[in-house]
Symmetry: C2
Subunit: 182 residues, 2 copies
């Protein structure tokens, strides 16, 4: 399980509260790791107890105060060691693909709709990432080393997304021909 490490990674450069972490997991890092706010808050407590994070209550104007977490030296060390360990192969899970195995005249129309919806979602996310990449990672070779890693991860997300869109268009074309039969 890499949730604690994903959280620590998110805190490498910016101190954040649980709420802010949850939002950032819906964005950049979330392309590779997804977590709900409940999971995050719970994990923050655990990481605090272990001494990997320190926390500080910060008052805000016009908002309730938040608890901002930052990586301790111990946390940094543990994270660095984790990186050197073995990665587990990722587990893919996708309803839509399973549903495609069930393609029939009864459900083509519905699957087309779902594919279009998914296409839209991926396109939005892709647009966001492309913007981040253009903005902050335009000249990858010039980046400091850690940022090069972030760039590569981002590039992976972008290229996977673009490939998905291409596939999606092909699939929609084929499904449209199937639908025409009914």
């Amino acid at each position: 399980m890499a949730l604690p490490h994903a959280i620590m990674t998110a805190l490498l450069e910016d101190n954040m509260s649980g709420f802010e972490l949850a939002k950032s997991f819906d964005r950049a890092l979330g392309f590779f790791w997804r977590a709900s706010h409940q999971q995050i808050y719970q994990e923050l407590h655990k990481l605090g107890e272990k001494g990997y994070l320190s926390s500080e209550t910060v008052a805000q104007q016009a908002k309730p105060s938040k608890i901002e977490y930052s990586l301790t030296d111990k946390g940094r060390q543990v994270l660095a060691e984790w990186v050197l360990g073995e990665s587990k192969v990722q587990e893919a899970k996708d309803d839509l693909m399973v549903k495609l195995y069930n393609l029939s005249l009864d459900n083509v129309a519905h699957l087309i709709t779902e594919l279009e919806r998914r296409r839209e979602l991926v396109m939005q996310r892709l647009y966001l990432y492309e913007r981040i990449r253009r903005r902050h990672y335009d000249d990858p070779e010039a980046l400091p080393i850690r940022r090069k890693g972030v760039y590569l991860a981002l590039a992976a997300g972008v290229s996977q997304g673009e490939e998905f869109l291409r596939w999606c268009d092909d699939a929609l074309t084929m499904l449209a021909r199937v639908e025409a039969l009914s």
Copy 2:
């Protein structure tokens, strides 16, 4: 959760035992849904109790006997209804990408090794899928309708895999240059 539906989908055309299902989840369908044998056996019991599957003990020569499951009409109906429902967006999780966010001179070498290992894994799976596609799905337009869906899923897997390999090569090139600095 789509595990029960993934299992039923796998049983659409072929009757299988839990052991065979577990293997098939390591292969074709497993590109989109992964499950351990424990999960599968347990789910098979549940699906049996609900009347979605029927089972039959089959004796084998040179092997212990197996319990072969087949979809009942009720199961088929439930599956068909499930397809018409909403799909949840997939959840991506990948250690390696999180690790890339931690890129440093201390871990480049290790990340290169891990990327190469991952590349190898993807390539093997890709090879398998390409072979299946060439063998059974060479002329997609000529396939019966359900098979067209399977073809599309397979095509998604193949194109994602190929894109990953391209990204991987770029990433390895970049990491090699980083490593040269140390």
